[in-house]
Amino acid sequence: MSAWLVRRLGWALLTLWLVLSGSFLLAYVVPADPARQMAGPHASPEVIERIEAEHHLDEPLLVQYGYYMRGVVRGDLGRSYRTDEPVTAALARAVPNTALLAVGASIFQILVGIPIGLFAALRKRSLADLSAMAFALLGISAPTFLTGLGLLYVFGYQLDLVPLGGRGEGLFDLLRSALLPSITLGIAGAAYYSRLTRGEYLEVAGRDFMRTARAKGLPEVRVVLRHGMRNALIPVMTFFGVDLGAMLGGAVVTEKIFAWPGMGRLAVDGVLNQDTPVMLGAVLVASTFIVLANLVVDVLYAVLDPRIRVG
């Protein structure tokens, strides 16, 4: 197990290095000059030259790459071209905000998606099943910007139940402000999980061990939850882990709509402002979460299904 884990960690580091190097190269080849972006459209060539020198932008690609990677190894991701703030400080502020949304969305996905899927599976081909699957189709198909704006309009603007965007101060206001963006972020996942749970449960329901459990005289609730759902949830866990990793990397549209100061907004602003250090910092954090999530899911497989062994 430990040798397997070390090997997987090695691959994870290699993946991160490749992602970061590829992103650095992409940022370099974009036909735009960050110094011009920093200086503003009216700045003279002399001012732009001074900014280029200050940020090593006048150096060859390999030298710039060397400066950057040396910083990364030391935990220094550089300073934002736009605000001159250390990128690590910006990330430290954005990651907890995004994590709050990701956790909220995950809870929503689990609490809404799985019960609906199970409910639909237990009432196969009934009106309830049809309604649940219609919800799933709608949830998956509806674009986030539409869902988000709709929720904001109804619950924030018309009913005045939650704040109109932004992050609240204090625990109560913070949770209140995170409610709608979490739901928006979680709706598509919940819808997908409901379909997945339904399909998986229906497949498991006809298996021999389910018949055996019932033949033993176990209560139906225990048959469904202990025997049926434990098996049906394995694929759901796979998606859940990867989803959580991706959400921790930033929810671009949701954060933009709700003015939520998280990773997604930071990344978009970095790209739009040609702010390479911020952009690369966001890529590094997002890819780290995804790689870690994959790793955790692999380990969880073994926990959930004793037949699966790693190493």
């Binding site: 003279s44 605000t83 109109l164 100061p261």
Partner: protein, 573 residues
């Protein structure tokens, strides 16, 4: 409880009520026939104190360091924290601020500023002349790479400092604690305008040195508000400075700036009475507001100090032919653009905006002047005549390539121009690029032939508009400010003479001559000046939508019942 309904009927009724409620919530026209402001002005006769003024923007400001900030949003916030020696009044005229008076010698070389003796920094220390010397020397700190050097570089000794041969500006001297003398390299009649730019803000140099990079987050100035909280990307909270040098000001206890709010969300917050002002609206919100009697009263529209148009690269064919440039310029229907943009712009024949003295108003031009400015006006017949006189009378070998930026304004303009040019027989293709790519490419020689471009003022003076875009000196191989690469020695001579003469009337005449030649040579198609807007809550008073300072809340107050008659802030910081 007794009910005439059975339990099932009760549930059905509840369900119906929920559905009706949701429908009402989703149908604003039904639920709120009059969507007006939630609170009205209380009716105080004179300004009252207290309250927090909240406003927002789509992006956070880049910095709060006045030496670095070079965009209107940064300047907007900095204007609350800092003061400059000179400032602008409501008519965009220079007036004393930290300097109670100033004078210039006959040669236009030596400026003397007499400072107020009652100005304190937020730290409590009195401001003196050495602070002016320190603040302006700091602009030349290589670590800041300040764009201000383009403007303050006219001070004697600036070259030596920038080349590392000196560490102080030799032309900047504190004569006594309340007098500063500035000697320029050459006469410059616009130096007072430069002094009034936010780059010229006076800071306590020892605090800037101590804080280093953190000065941009928690800066110290002499303005009516001081920074108490700054969360980059989220919000900035300013609180009233009790020792502000203008007696009785500010009225507000706090000003909060929220960052990252899209326009649609900001407008919803305005309607919900969560913020006090918005200055940008989506087109649907703008149109709705214009037709809503309750909100329409709160809308203030004013001409921005900018000019938009099309750059035509005079070094690249077919734009190296003046007759072809004239043909393109006269083919563009400016009034159609106005309609396409919901009337939020003013078509123009002038490069200098209406707020400035050198503005060319077609209705007031003499026939001789019209002969020059006619090439900046929609006239398809004239366009065809010009095309016939050009080297391209028989047609182009390939369509024009027009660089458009992926913004609503640029795309609408591009498509409109494409139709206009097709009508006179000039084919055109669009090339869509990002703003950052455009900025880089448009300053590079022989790269962008034809594009949507603009000039937004650095300071309100025609020199800033004419010289920056059309002087040969502003051309360089990379990062050229003169992006049409237009070079006319006659124009250069007029602009140089105008900048150096201290006779205001003569300077105006020289700028006017240069403006006429540029209009005639058409390196740009001058198209329109944009219309800025501001929507405030009805109880917001004293707020100025200013051509230079944009959203100016230094003298704003909230006409609400809880307003206090005195500035006593009960120990507020």
């Amino acid at each position: 409880m007794c009910s005439i309904l059975g339990p099932e009927q009760g549930w059905r009724r509840a369900g119906v009520l929920v559905l009706v409620g949701m429908s009402m919530a989703l149908a604003p026209g039904c639920s709120m026939p009059e969507r007006g402001p939630r609170r009205q002005a209380f009716g105080h006769d004179s300004p009252v104190y207290g309250g927090r003024f909240v406003f927002s923007a789509e992006d956070d400001v880049r910095t709060l360091d006045p030496a670095v900030g070079y965009d209107s949003d940064s300047w907007n916030l900095e204007h609350l924290i800092f003061d400059t020696l000179l400032a602008y009044d409501d008519d965009v005229q220079l007036v004393p601020s930290l300097a109670s008076s100033w004078e210039v010698d006959e040669r236009g070389l030596v400026y003397t500023f007499h400072l107020r003796d009652d100005v304190r920094f937020h730290t409590g220390r009195l401001m003196v002349a050495d602070d002016v010397v320190g603040s302006w020397n700091r602009l030349f700190d290589p670590a800041l790479a300040s764009p201000a050097t383009d403007f303050f570089g006219v001070i004697q000794g600036a070259d030596a400092v920038m080349e590392g041969r000196a560490d102080r500006l030799s032309g900047l001297v504190a004569l006594d604690p309340h007098t500063v003398q500035v000697t320029l390299d050459h006469p410059d009649s616009t130096f007072p305008n430069i002094v009034a730019m936010m780059f010229g803000a006076i800071i306590p140099p020892e605090v800037a040195a101590e804080l280093g990079d953190r000065f941009a987050l928690t800066p110290v100035g002499t303005g009516p508000f001081q920074v108490t909280e700054r969360a980059v990307g989220e919000h900035t909270l300013l609180t009233a400075f009790d020792d502000f040098w203008q007696p009785g000001l500010p009225y507000l206890d706090e000003v909060e700036f929220l960052a990252g709010y899209p326009r649609s969300l900001a407008f919803m917050k305005l309607e919900n009475d969560e913020i006090h002002e918005v200055d940008r609206l989506t087109s649907p919100d703008y149109l709705w507001l214009k037709h809503n009697p309750a909100w329409r009263r709160q809308l203030y529209e004013y001409p921005a100090v900018d000019t938009y148009g099309e750059l035509m690269n005079t070094e690249m064919p077919p734009f190296d032919d003046v007759w072809f440039r004239r043909a393109v310029s006269t083919a563009i229907n400016r009034d159609k653009l106005r309609k396409l943009r919901n009337g939020r712009l003013r078509p123009t024949v002038s490069w200098v905006p209406p707020a400035l003295p050198g503005f060319a108003d077609w209705d007031k031009l003499t026939p001789e002047e019209r002969a020059d400015f006619q090439y900046q006006r929609y006239d398809p017949d004239l366009s065809r005549e010009c095309l016939a006189k050009s080297r391209y009378a028989d047609g182009l070998s390939e369509p024009l390539t027009y660089w458009a930026v992926d913004t609503e304004g640029s795309l609408v303009t591009a498509m409109s121009i494409q139709q206009d040019l097709a009508a006179v027989g000039i084919p055109m293709e669009l090339k869509l690029v990002t703003l950052s790519t455009y900025f880089t490419a448009s300053g590079r020689r022989k790269t962008v032939p034809f594009a949507y471009a603009a000039w937004v003022m650095d300071f309100p003076h025609e020199r800033n508009f004419l010289e920056s875009r059309f002087h040969c000196r502003m051309i360089s191989d990379e990062n050229s400010t003169n992006d049409s690469f237009y070079c006319n020695p006659e124009v250069d001579a007029l602009l140089d003479r105008a900048a150096r003469t201290m006779d205001e009337g003569q300077a105006r005449e020289l700028y006017w001559q240069a403006h006429r030649i540029i209009a005639r040579d058409a390196p740009y198609a001058f198209e329109y000046h944009s219309t800025a807007l501001s929507v405030t809550q009805p109880y917001v008073k004293g707020f100025r939508a200013h051509p230079v300072y944009n959203r100016d809340m230094r003298e704003a107050w909230l006409d609400l019942p809880e307003g206090r008659p005195t500035p006593d802030r009960g120990g507020a910081p």
